[in-house]
């Protein structure tokens, strides 16, 4: 084995772009992809350098005896010292016309005065430059598109070259381009089998348009080229290995049979249809390379030295660059972001341009350089074997953190916005390339080259996803998503399912507790009874036990009108836990009233109170069974002032304690139980007029009002958060239709995944995943602010959970 030192940098908590780059750094991809794990550490600043040891096989590790053909936009500077070995250039000035049956008549101009481009220089450098690429001993061939313009020839010439070159060197073709389509001037768009003439309720614009998000992520897309694919197939069948960039359209590249393979749009101007989720070059043996971001999450959640371009990484671990095309077509993700290179100026080679190169254009050649090492040692490897090797074998054990979102049925012309959202996996094979530099794996021995693509199943739209309720998802969906994140490829073991269900409930409650004003659980200004009296201390009587209907909370119903035997104008109370109440009476309840005939307070069971249409109330004095009567003399104005009660000892015993209350309890018949009190008003609030707001404190029994306006008030209007109810699913988790609040779905899924990582002692990944989960939750909390719940319903409170009005 041999080594060399490579000084490079990779961005962690801080994200830097060109202005902060250190152009003395080299290609960090060589380090990343020859190590199983990410060996870079958190950097204090993007341009800072780390010194790493690059290890390679001493015999084959520089791509010896491999011919790499680059199809570039223009020529490169052919006298570049970066491509020289012992003074001789590895750039072969091959005359493509000399091949038998060559389709081209172009005599390629390799002179240093030939038209050059930065892109071409950087592509070749990322693979073969002595400073930047792995293939520092490979032979370099160039097909410049500007000179050989017929795209059919790009694939025919390498095939003929490979067949006719007269040696057994493997041939590797690299192309960093595709055909780009534009989703503009759209007449209609067909998405998952349905054609839409509008997008999200609006007509497709005729000119420059917004991206039809939900159906496609970006305004640009790949256009497929079936004719090129036929030639590509002939080329790879002849033994040429083909590596292609995935493109930077933020789209999904699907495979035949995939959910999005047939998505297409019709152009107004041409009346032609264009597919939007297919690769340009779709040969089954082509190795398609996505872009691994330089930015990664090191698990830290704070940026202490804030400033430009410094931010906490939103995703978990390592992930694809946001511009990279995604989807099952992508075979591997390779460094293609923030690669510093110094390349000859396309006008004057003496000037070196410092560039920080980003795009799948540079992922593809970085991989090609590494693949040349493998081909150098195992030169008979076929295209299919190499693709199989890169897709399923040469893999880092480090996971990628792009969010996995399951596709859902299209909600009309809204498409599937969550699925097509920023940086989601879109059914990608989320794998980072790792080529063991010892090259111990014999790629030419691979017998099964079958590629299995991850499958997708459309999830049904939430049943309650309509205008009157908030969106929900099912518990089964949540379980499937969490399992997909955990990476089971199917269902978890039974024991793990139970564990996951516990994690889900724990995270559900965490999310629930994060805000007192989650719209789903918020009840605004609901009329609630005020408990005005409480009786306690009574026990069973000698013959029966009526203590349970006597002890308890009593509501002040109002003041008696004096027509039924109670003193007019005195308070009438009843026990809401006993008997019934409707709009015209309280019946068979325990009632406290002041009786006219005796001028004493009496407490009767099985008593009734009539309520007439004007709201006047009248106790039917003596209609029930007396339990207690006032024994004091003189008589008191209020029952709580009574010192001595005479008990009906056959029914109750003991010494009653009667105390005043101004309490609103947590529970009330036929209403939701209160989880948290937010605000209490005397009249209905948040409607039209302002209303007196009560101060209160909360104890075990409920909210105690401190400044009640009138002690005869029987009601107050409470804004509250409903009580938390955990999921009760205990079996058949994957098919459960129990509703999960849509606003908590992603948080719970990622948070329980973090819990699983923690259980497996994968602490760093757990921290990063936790952060992803928190980001989802923060987005939902932000929506609460936007809806002004925090500033209206909740403005009384500023707690550690709801933080503050932002």
């Amino acid at each position: 084995m041999a080594t060399r030192t490579i000084t490079c940098s990779r961005l962690a908590r801080t994200r830097s772009r060109a202005v902060h780059a250190n152009f003395n750094n080299k290609n960090w991809g060589l380090i990343r992809h020859t190590n199983d794990a990410n060996v870079f550490t958190a950097l204090s600043y993007g341009g800072d350098s780390e010194s790493h040891t690059y290890t390679y096989d001493a015999t084959n590790g520089q791509g010896e005896n491999v011919d790499i053909i680059f199809i570039t936009s223009k020529m490169i500077y052919t006298d570049n010292a970066g491509y020289k070995t012992s003074g001789s250039s590895r750039i072969q000035q091959f005359d493509w016309r000399t091949l038998t049956n060559s389709p081209t008549s172009v005599n390629v101009d390799y002179s240093t005065s030939a038209a050059r481009s930065e892109h071409s220089e950087a592509v070749v450098a990322a693979a073969c430059h002595n400073d930047y690429g792995a293939a520092t001993k490979s032979n370099i061939y160039i097909i410049p598109k500007e000179q050989i313009v017929n795209s059919a020839h790009y694939w025919v010439l390498p095939k003929l070259f490979h067949q006719q070159k007269g040696n057994s060197n493997p041939t590797l073709v690299v192309n960093s381009f595709g055909e780009t389509g534009s989703l503009q001037l759209v007449k209609n768009l067909t998405f998952r089998g349905t054609t839409y003439n509008s997008i999200n309720g609006k007509n497709f614009p005729l000119g420059d348009s917004k991206s039809p998000s939900g159906m496609s992520t970006n305004l640009t897309c790949r256009n497929p080229r079936p004719a090129d694919d036929v030639l590509l197939k002939e080329m790879t069948d002849a033994g040429v290995i083909h590596i292609c960039s995935a493109g930077n359209s933020r789209g999904k590249l699907d495979v035949p049979g995939g959910l999005d393979y047939n998505n297409k749009y019709l152009k107004f101007t041409t009346e032609l249809e264009y597919f939007i989720n297919r690769p340009t070059f779709a040969n089954e043996d082509t190795i398609t390379v996505g872009n691994l971001d330089s930015w990664f999450n090191d698990g830290n959640t704070e940026v202490t030295n804030t400033g430009d371009l410094k931010e906490v990484c939103l995703l978990n671990g390592e992930f694809a660059t946001d511009t990279s095309n995604m989807g099952p077509v992508i075979d591997c993700f390779v460094a293609g972001t923030g690669i510093p290179m110094r390349i000859p100026d396309d006008a004057n080679h003496l000037n070196l341009l410092s560039g920080l190169f980003t795009g799948t254009s540079f992922s593809a050649p970085t991989l090609a350089g590494l693949v040349s090492m493998v081909l150098s040692k195992y030169p008979t490897t076929t295209a299919a074997q190499m693709r199989k090797y890169l897709r399923d074998i040469a893999l880092s054990s480090a996971p990628m953190g792009n969010p996995v979102v399951l596709p859902t049925e299209s909600d009309g012309d809204k498409g599937d916005p969550e699925y097509t959202d920023w940086m989601t996996s879109k059914n990608s094979h989320l794998k980072i390339t790792y080529i063991d530099p010892s090259l111990s794996y014999d790629t030419s021995s691979i017998t099964d080259t079958t590629i299995t693509y991850p499958t997708e199943t459309l999830q049904p739209l939430p049943s309650s996803n309509n205008a009157t309720t908030m969106p929900t998802r099912t518990y089964g969906n949540l379980f499937k998503t969490a399992s997909a994140l955990i990476g089971t490829g199917g269902q978890l073991a039974t024991g793990e399912q139970a564990q996951l269900s516990h994690f889900i409930n724990r995270r559900f409650q965490q999310a629930f507790d994060e805000s007192p004003v989650w719209p789903r659980y918020l009840v605004s200004s609901e009329a609630r009874d005020i408990i005005s009296l409480n009786i306690s201390g009574l026990g069973a009587g000698g013959a029966s036990d009526s203590s349970s209907v006597a002890n308890g909370n009593y509501i002040l119903l109002g003041q008696d009108d004096g027509t039924g035997g109670a003193v007019a104008g005195t308070n009438v109370y009843y026990n809401p836990a006993v008997g019934t109440r409707n709009f015209e009476e309280v019946s068979n309840s325990t009632v406290i009233y002041k009786r006219t005939s005796t001028s004493r307070w009496e407490i009767e069971n099985y008593s009734s109170i009539s309520i007439d249409s004007s709201g006047a109330i009248a106790v039917e004095a003596g209609s029930g069974d007396a339990l207690l009567v006032e024994a004091d003399s003189p008589k008191k104005d209020n029952p709580s002032e009574v010192i001595t009660w005479t008990l009906t000892t056959a029914k109750v015993s003991g010494t009653p304690l009667v105390v005043d209350k101004q309490l609103i309890p947590y529970a009330q018949t036929s209403k939701d139980s209160i989880g948290d009190f937010n605000r209490i008003h005397r009249k209905q609030a948040f409607l039209n007029n302002s209303s007196l707001e009560y101060e209160f404190f909360v104890d075990f029994d409920g909210a105690n009002i401190l400044n009640i306006a009138n002690s005869t008030d029987g009601k107050a209007f409470v804004s509250y958060k409903k009580q938390f109810t955990p999921f009760t699913v205990t079996s058949d988790y994957y098919n459960s239709t129990a509703e999960v609040p849509g606003e908590f779905f992603n948080y719970i899924a990622h948070a329980v995944y973090a819990d699983f990582l923690r259980v497996q002692n994968r602490q760093q990944e757990a921290l990063a995943e936790e952060q992803v989960a928190q980001t989802y939750l923060a987005l939902e909390l932000e929506k609460i602010d936007i809806r002004s719940n925090n500033n209206t319903i909740n403005k009384r409170f500023s707690t550690y959970v709801n933080r503050q009005s932002r």
Partner: protein, 65 residues
């Protein structure tokens, strides 16, 4: 207008080329593809031919990634 004509697999490419009057690139090195000029009115006729897999306009436009 120039079109790429792709013949079906295992079809004698020359026999298909003989159907066309204006071959613009025979692409001898390919077993399945050649380029020909086709009049608009003849396009559907060729597309329906059982030995032709598909026809598409010649398009050399690509964009660097």
């Amino acid at each position: 207008m120039n079109y790429n004509i792709v013949v079906t697999q295992n079809t004698d490419k020359q026999s298909v080329m003989d159907l066309f009057d204006y071959i613009t690139d025979p692409l001898v090195a390919s077993d399945r593809l050649f380029t020909a000029e086709i009049a608009e009115e003849d396009l559907d006729k060729y597309k329906a031919h059982s030995s032709i897999s598909f026809i598409e306009p010649v398009n050399n436009e690509v964009t660097d990634d």
